[in-house]
Amino acid sequence: MRNHKDALLAIEGVYHSYLPGTPFERRSLDGVDLSVYEKETVGIIGPSGSGKTTLLFHCNGLLRPQRGTVRAFGIPIGEPGAELRDIRRRVGCVFQSPEDQVFERYVGDDIAFGPRNMGLAVETVRERVRGALATVGYPFSFKDRLTSRLSLGEKRRVAIAGVLAMDPRLLLLDEPTAGLDPEARRDLFEIIDRFKRRSGRAVLMVSHRMEEIAELSDRIYVLVRGRVVLQGTARGVFSRPDLLSENGLSLPAPAQTVRLLQERGIPVRSGACSVQEAADTIEELFRDRT
């Protein structure tokens, strides 16, 4: 068991209501506990309106907990005197449609915006831009491209490079691949995976795409009506189809196939999360019989 103190992000008993004290009051988070450790990708899934985005907003101080505590890198967010600026430097956010935030004329200036604002020296900024571009798979010369001429996939990568240039330790992603074509999606998977492998880094991701959550996450939290109803490894979580479908969540196609086989009385192992795992499961089935 990992020591809770080592968590990069530790959320305990967080409650949140929108418009408290009005007729529109709606509880969004209802006592959530969640932690993220270094070198892991944690996925959050849940039906629409379950509080996923609200929870992400708590992770870098965009929202302060109305009750409970949120600690990022040991700093209690929301307590008087907490240095939100320090937290935001370490927690990089890529929220829905990040390409909308690309506003500079040139790619390089857009990526340099954050580091420049941090007051870094010109040379350091340059290195940050170079490094961020490399991480998202572009040569340094890409900095001279016009942002207005980029495709959606390119723009999204530039937006992510802008976040990476701040050298964050924890990356928050909300629906990072929505609208991307399969190739751009695969590229982004690699960027995410490369990021979390570095020491002291981690990723917390919200996605509706069960396939990508299954493939990328080391651990998954299932959020329903503001509560964590299930957590564990991808295989573990996707071995609970009943609980998921009760809450309007689907299985990724590989797990669904295996589940349908079981319903037909075919003796296969549960919880295949990826194409390869499903193929292995089917192979095992035939091999075991012969």
Binding site: G49, G179, D181, T257, I266, A278, I282, F286
Partner: protein, 286 residues
């Protein structure tokens, strides 16, 4: 019956022939869309999907060529109102489509602008809210809804116009599975009642469920046919960097165990039944 006819459509976002040279978002597109079809439009980012869809109700007008909706050319400005009543559009991001402060006002917005009788408006709003399952949200302000609820609301407000054809531009890509399913089910039901549906998507799993798949690449139609036909053309798909449906990819890895062409197995149900057939028959043929 033909609902939409596209003849030699080319479109450039640039103006002036010099600027346009070599900069076309669509190039020589010919398509005929019959009433009642369910069509998926797929293609990489920048392949021209959104540009094509925006031509279907005159949001964009051809640089060259022509688009006709029920015989009405989108170039004729006097017909635009009628064209937009025939073809309703739902975009990826519902935020861009919501204007009012109450859910039911949002749905009534279109019909009110058509100048309909109050009873007719009420009836349409009731119907659209029922079809999309939004009744429970009556009285709520749209900006406080979840993304999925907002998208259902845009679908409801488009439906209240009673269009013959629903165009969905990656309309479910931002939605959670349950909301996606609700939108899909709603659209599927409308389609079964005769609605023509044209939906762009990046998900081959979704495209597999359509009756016809149109593949765009570099602004041109690269392939057009039934899902099964499209999925059998692996080389083209690979060249276009498109992905096969998840279950076809699984099937390809175990094809020696199966007795059917793997491109037919484009959803979990089909793959599971092929695997269980093969298992029950015993042994392997190939």
């Amino acid at each position: 019956m033909e609902l939409i006819r596209i003849d030699d459509l080319s479109y450039s976002y640039e103006s002036g022939p010099a600027l346009r040279a070599g900069r076309y978002a669509l190039r020589g597109v010919d398509l005929s869309i019959r009433k009642g079809q369910y069509i998926a439009v797929i293609g990489a980012n920048g392949s021209g999907k959104s540009t094509l869809l925006k031509h279907l109700n005159g949001l964009l007008v051809p640089t060259e060529g022509e688009v006709r909706v029920s015989g009405m050319s989108t170039k004729d400005k006097t017909l635009l109102k009628e064209i937009r009543r025939t073809v309703g559009m739902v975009f990826q991001n519902p935020e861009t489509q919501l204007v009012t402060t109450l859910v039911e006002d949002e749905v009534a917005f279109g019909p009110e602008n058509l100048g309909l009788e109050p009873e007719e408006i009420t009836e349409r709003v009731e119907w659209a809210m029922a079809v999309t399952g939004l009744r429970a949200l009556q009285g709520r302000p749209p900006h406080l809804l979840s993304t999925g609820q907002k998208q259902l609301l845009t679908v409801a407000s488009v439906l209240a116009m009673r269009p013959d054809c629903l165009v969905l531009d990656e309309a479910t890509s931002m939605l959670d599975p349950a909301s996606r399913k609700r939108v899909d089910d709603t659209v599927r039901r409308l389609h079964n009642d005769g609605m023509t549906v044209i939906a762009s998507t990046h998900s081959m799993d979704e495209a597999a469920e359509a009756g016809r798949v149109i593949v765009l690449a570099g602004g041109e139609v690269a392939a057009d046919g039934e899902p099964r036909e499209i999925f059998s053309r692996r080389r083209i798909l690979r060249e276009l960097r498109l992905e096969l449906p998840t279950t076809v990819r699984i099937a390809d890895l175990v094809k020696n165990r199966l007795f059917v062409e793997t491109e037919r197995l484009f959803n979990p149900r089909l793959l599971a039944s092929a695997v269980s057939d093969a298992y029950r028959k015993g042994g392997t043929l190939r």
